[in-house]
């Protein structure tokens, strides 16, 4: 997709999320893990949500996930008119954390979108600085 043509919302990174978006730009999905209690987590933070340790590290995920749950929006949202109806989904990464995303590469219908189906991450280049992680059926 041409970057000038990208009309969907684009995130504005903050200090605690900059690394995540920098890696997305390289088409890699990284999340964090606590060095103290080993808890993996998303969304990006400076502290572990389980034990509040500030000793947290980034690691590269496999990009594999399963479909946890979803809704299919039938009302056009600015930037998403051509996609409607489209799924807004929660996927669970192989490493544990859950994240909101879109499902691409398959028509977004209840019959096609089966809970627990295997998925893998893909990236949509939105601007020179931002690529958005989305998921497609694995394989």
């Amino acid at each position: 997709m041409s970057q000038e043509g990208y009309r969907k919302p684009v995130p504005i990174p903050t200090p605690e999320t900059q690394f995540y978006w920098d890696k997305c730009k390289e088409h890699e999905l990284w999340v964090q893990r606590c060095d103290s209690c080993n808890h993996p987590f998303f969304y990006p933070r400076f502290h572990c949500p389980q034990c509040l340790s500030a000793e947290v590290s980034w690691f590269k995920t496999s990009g594999k996930a399963t479909l946890w749950t979803y809704m299919i929006n039938h009302r056009p949202v600015p930037g998403f008119e051509e996609d409607t109806p489209y799924a807004i989904a929660v996927v669970q990464l192989e490493e544990g954390p859950k994240m909101l995303t879109n499902i691409v590469g398959i028509e977004n219908t209840p019959d096609n979108l089966v809970l627990d189906m295997p998925l893998e991450v893909v990236f949509e280049d939105a601007t020179d600085e931002i690529a958005i992680p989305k998921f497609k059926p694995a394989g």
């Binding site: 998303f42 749950t69 929006n73 039938h74 930037g79 807004i88 909101l100």
Partner: protein, 393 residues
Amino acid sequence: MPDSLRYKAAIVGAAETTDLGVIPNLSTTQLHIDAAINAIKDCGIDKNQIDGIATTMSPAALAHYLGIVPRWLDNTSVGGTSFLIQVRHAAAAIAMGLCETALVVMGQSGRSRVGETSARMGATSAAGGPRGDISYPGQFESIYGTSGPTTLFGMGVLRYMEETGTTHEQLASVAVAQRKWANQVPRAMFRDLITVDDVFNSRMVCYPFHLFECCLVTDGGGALILTSAERAKDFPTNPVYILGTGESTETPVVSQMYDLTSSTAFKVSSRQAFAEAGISHADVDHLMIYDAFAHLPIYGLEDLGFVGRGEAGAFIEEGNTSPGSKLPMNTNGGGLSYTHTGMYGMFAMQEAVRQVRGEASHQVPDVKVSFCQGVGGMFMAAGSLVFTNEPPH
């Protein structure tokens, strides 16, 4: 110091705005004022006796408009349950002597959008616009085409249905059951009886939610006046005593709930209220569960402990919350049929108060105890209250 809020305070004044539904001639501020004046008239109090004020808008603006000089304020703003939590805080303030008479007031031009200056709910990213924003929902939700509660609040429902065997028919039956109540409520926006097929034939808004499984969008407001349980006897209205209270929060990012098929805040909040009230579920004669969408009464019945895991859909479908049942729920028709300005919690409390007073449009016989459960944002926050008309022994 009081060790509980049980029987420390009572509601003596309660009223909604004069009109309800579509009110293009009143701004958000004026909806607050209309509701406040109606509540003042309801209990006949001299407004100068009100020395505490709670609202999600500017307490100073409302106090000054009403010519009240408060010595206690609360501006808790965690979505539509804020007013239940403010009632809890008002009861605590009265118990501690921080004020003697508190006004809890809300108004919202949710439909006509007259004088609405802020985002309707703190949990969504509507303010971000097409350029996104720096908030967590802005960075990690709105980029995927979310558009407020219709696209996020029910996110866990398909998972819940998969895990429990709950059916689409059972989800639709929530709207059907509540319309049976609204059918005899003149102020309800939707009153015509509907079937499960009618729900399925209504427009798909965001799968699995059809239009009739989503709340209304209306204008309106409401106000409550509280004072000490002791002083409540001096008013002409029958006191509605605060028996139990609770509050909690979970997350402003719905995809990051601890469990998308259950509300942690519902559980924490309701358990506090049951424990403080010293009642069991069997003691509850009337129940309000904030229903912005059809799954909320299902989550609520389970998280509050009225039924077991996975049982709520069948419970509602079989009529156990409908008129004439053992657990009358959302007896004004709820957010799905009565009204929903965006922050519905005040209206849930107003109906609970009417039922406990015995003056509801679709009155349940012999209500002594009403349990009222609120939700704020999208499972962001919760507030619980137990009301009774039985005086302290």
